[in-house]
Symmetry: C2
Subunit: 191 residues, 2 copies
């Protein structure tokens, strides 16, 4: 079909194609066959690299999350104190999804809800952005000489994340007038 029988790096090419489709036409337009076509391979070729459509989506999700994490990390590096870092992180968090609403649904939609259908995985706080936030939060406690129980920490972390994540969510939602400047988040909210 193409010049070469072996594509060379079909796996990554499919991920890239998938991202392009999602960006251009939305998540529901993503199909294995379209992605395959964009890579000039047959419709069944993806199955050499992904067990099913689910696995491609998972791979794309990882790819997007990585880019997201890069922005977050470079935001965190900018701040001198932990407090500044956390605020910068919140700003970046909201801005990233405000600029890419499609990614928000893609990352936090469907597959990411607690499916009371199939409880296959253990729930654990291993979401990379959350780990980063926790690291900064602990640094914040240390810098300010604060002592909190694990329980208290957990709750405060969830609170912070709720605000930021909620803002991102709302920034992405239809029906929300954009009179809010998502780049100018009130700092008092964040620590």
């Amino acid at each position: 079909m193409a010049d070469v029988y072996h594509h060379g790096n079909l796996r990554q090419a499919l991920i890239d194609a998938g991202i392009k489709i999602i960006n251009d036409y939305g998540e529901e337009s993503l199909s294995l066959r379209k992605a395959a076509a964009m890579c000039n391979v047959s419709h069944a070729a993806p199955y050499a690299h992904f067990k099913d459509k689910e696995e491609l989506i998972e791979a794309i999700k990882n790819d997007v999350t990585e880019r997201f994490m890069q922005e977050l990390e470079s935001a965190v590096e900018g701040g001198a104190s932990a407090d500044e870092a956390i605020i910068a992180m919140g700003r970046t968090y909201v801005t990233f999804f405000s600029k890419n609403p499609v990614y928000f649904v893609f990352l936090f939609g469907k597959q990411n809800i607690k499916a009371h259908l199939k409880m296959d995985k253990e729930y654990k706080n291993d979401y990379p952005p959350f780990l980063l936030l926790r690291r900064m939060y602990l640094k914040h406690l240390e810098e300010n000489g604060l002592e909190k129980t694990f329980e208290e920490q957990e709750i405060e972390l969830i609170k912070i994340w709720s605000i930021v994540h909620g803002m991102a969510s709302i920034a992405c939602m239809k029906g929300v007038k954009s009179s809010i400047d998502w780049n100018d988040i009130d700092e008092r909210l964040l620590v």
Copy 2:
């Protein structure tokens, strides 16, 4: 196919069937044909009541939103002051989705993002729960003799909503340890 040619109330029956499918098997299992089968009508019968699958989904969404609003409203009625009402509303908001994670994604997923693809509708703050919150918020301002510009109001509203909506979102997410009691939300967060 069935006893009677005219079903009687196929429209609502399809909505109910759709909700049942979503609850039992998840959103991605929802298909017009299955819903039709559950109502003992042919696979094309739904097209007499809905333009396409999209329109059925929209109808289901309205149905769920209505139930959600009922819970919110009865929560609001319980509170003596506006402040209490807002807190009760926040609690209900989080609890509702904590109990029905599937609904969260269903209501706020896919179709509800700002699709930079087709900007068909004007963005407006007409989401019923938001309207209720605004009403309570204005009452709160009045009761406490506070004066705010429209801009300030808008921002504060978004903040409150962010926290609550964010908590709901996180409560629904995989990867989040449920050491948090989503029924015991710290009141200091909410006003």
